[in-house]
Each structure stands twice: as C-alpha cells, then as structure tokens.
Symmetry: C2
Subunit: 216 residues, 2 copies
C-alpha cells in the first residue's frame, strides 16, 4: 500500500520505518521537498521510501499518518490541502500538548473537544482515526518491548477506517485482544487526556518503555 | 485508628466497610445526623461503626476520606468546617465529573487545575492526598478481584500523609509495587483526567471490574 507519513520527528521516523519494514511504500512529508531529516531517512530506508512536501506526501498516500507535534497538526493539514485527503483514512497520532505553562503540561484543546475531533470537524470527508497517541514511539511499532499485555486505543467515526487501522496495528505487532475500540472520534478526548499522567509517569519512571494496560 | 468517611454512596459504603473490616473505628458523615443509608450501614457494620453529620464525622476522624460525588465535594467540606480538618490527612477519592452535557462526560475542573488541588488550595493546613479515584469502588477495596498487577495512583504535597495513605492502601490489598506515587497534588490533574476514558471503557466492557495498569 502507498502510505503518507506527515512529520520527520521521532514518531514520524518510527512509523515510516515500520511501514517500510512490513512492506509498504512510504512518502515522508515535511514543509519542504528537501528536508534534511527526511532525506536522511530516505537514504537509510531503501527503495520503497521517498519524501516530499506535506501536500505531495498526502497526494501519494492511500492512507495518511499525522505524526507532527500537536501544536503543528492543524497548520500542517492546511498545507496538505483538503483535496489531497478527501475520502482517505487519516490516522492521527498527535497530542494537543502545551508545555508553555510548565509541568505538568496542559492540553490546548481539552475536555469538551479534542484534537482528533477538531480534525474531523474541519475535514468532514476525511476518515479520521485516532490511535497510538498514548505511548512512546518505540512502543507504537514494537509492543513486544513491554512484556505481557498492554493496550492501544482506537476511535473514529468510520467503521471501515478503523478496520483498516487495526490491520496496520496488527502488522506493527499489536494483538487484537490489546486493541481497544473506544467508539467514535469524540473519545479522542479520553485518550488525549491520558497524556498529562503519561508525561508525569515518564518523570517518575525515568524511561518511556511503559504503557497503559486495561487490566480486567 | 478513628477514621471519618464523608459520603453514604457506593464509594463511601465500600471504603467504610473495608476500614471496619481491617480494624478501624469509622464514623460515616452525611448532611444530617440520621441519614437513612448511613443508619443502615451502621446497623450492618457492627460496634466500631457510627454516623453523624459531616462535621461530627470529621471531628471524630484522625484521617478523613472524602467520598462524595465530585460536584458536592467542596460544599461538603464547607459543611465540615476548616477547624475539623486542620492538620489532618484528607484522602480525596472524588472526581469532578459533569454529565450535564451528555456523554462522554466533561470535567468541571480540568487541565490547569483539579479538584484535588482546589481542596488543597482552599484548605492549606489540610494534608490532601488524592488516590483511588481511577477505579470502581469494589476494586478500590478488593484489588484481587482483577487478576494480575494493576495500578493505584497516589499524589499529594505531604510525604508523611502519603506514607500513611499507602499503609491504608496496603491494608486494602494493594501491594507496594502497584502503588504509584506520581508526585505533588498538581498531579491530581492527570489522575482525574483518566475518568473520561474510564467511563467510556465502562460502556465498551459492560462492567466495572477493570483498572488501569502501567505495564513496563
């Protein structure tokens, strides 16, 4: 499958590399067509890897991963352009974190709205799925790094888009029993609100190799 | 030890009964001195159980459990009176849930503040500890109900108050390895923000016998 990855940071690199490793063609998108980090990634990732602007990447992808920092997500999607996303699945991994007021961070969209919902409302023809936003990037693409069962949440309004997303999660190593569908995109409020305690736990534990598990 | 439990609902009853079962004297507090639910609880809980007004209960307790619904917490503490709490440990289990705008519920204090912090700010001489607010009442007092490890978060500004609270949690069945101290009372933001996804998971699972576990 042809997949776009928007963002060249830790999350973008981890997702893009994993997608290549499980057999997809990936175009990494950034603000320019010759981004240094994207170029380095393409050079190391082999013949199925390419790069371009956000718009070029999204136009290339049948599925689009939104991996930018949360405070850039909406402006990046504006650069992508609605016509390059319409009818496609957009998997949003970003979080609306605001560190400007110190620790613990606040969320710049929160409580009665979420970043996931805002994307869906702004682009009604895009099939937004929120997932993977509640863990470190290394865990996203290698859940076996943490022993035993632990959870990844999925939400979105389009059932088929969630099914396709779950297949990708399976290919990343997530067993069906650990993928929890929490419903429509309004539930992005709940998963995004996991971030304040996640970041605090990062400080308490001193490492990012942990994840939420719903024990039952 | 003499302990006050403020609230006669499911959480108050569960905590009060457990405290009796592990050997404490408990006074259950409510708005009146002859509350029907508190009377029924006293009748069933034996000679170490008593009831009274919120103020009478707090005056009796060396430690106070705040088990009312979140939207009543601050008004109940006003009825308690600062003089009945000063210098004592107040263990706050309540959550600032607002169901008035439908599902998923919102939080009436959120993001850059929390109910736990608000109590601490309002009553600076009270040693506020936030804990147990991220699970169902049956799990609070019987963690073995859910197989394997799962987590209870503790936060507060006073180290000794947290140590005393952890001893009570031990007596409820919580192993030290599953008690996670997430720091000062500002981290109540993080644990209270777990509620929107908790309530959604309640709907997805169809039962409340689950809990967050930090897998690592």
């Amino acid at each position: 499958m042809k997949i776009a990855v928007l963002g060249t940071g830790g999350v973008g690199q981890a997702i893009a590399t994993k997608l290549i490793n499980v057999g997809h063609e990936v175009k990494m998108g950034s603000r320019t067509s010759n981004n240094e980090k994207a170029s380095a990634w393409v050079a190391s990732a082999g013949s199925k890897a390419s790069q371009g602007t956000f718009a070029e990447a999204a136009a290339f992808g049948e599925i689009i991963f939104s991996c930018t920092k949360g405070d850039a997500t909406l402006s990046v999607l504006k650069l992508v352009g609605e016509n390059n996303m319409d009818g496609k699945i957009l998997i949003d991994i970003s979080n609306p974190l605001d560190f400007s007021k110190g620790m613990p961070p606040t969320l710049f969209i929160c409580n009665d709205n979420s970043l996931g919902e805002t994307i869906q409302t702004t682009y009604p023809n895009v099939k937004v799925v929120k997932t993977l936003n509640t863990m470190n990037s290394v865990v996203m693409v290698n859940p076996a790094l943490i022993p035993g069962d632990h959870s990844v949440f999925v939400c979105g309004n389009d059932a088929n888009a969630k099914t396709e997303t779950k297949k990708l999660l399976n290919s990343f190593g997530w067993a069906d029993k650990n993928i929890i569908d929490v419903g429509d995109i309004t539930n992005a409020r709940g998963t995004e609100q996991l971030l304040p305690i996640w970041i605090r736990l990062l400080g308490v534990m001193g490492h990012a190799n942990f994840n939420f598990h719903i024990a039952k």
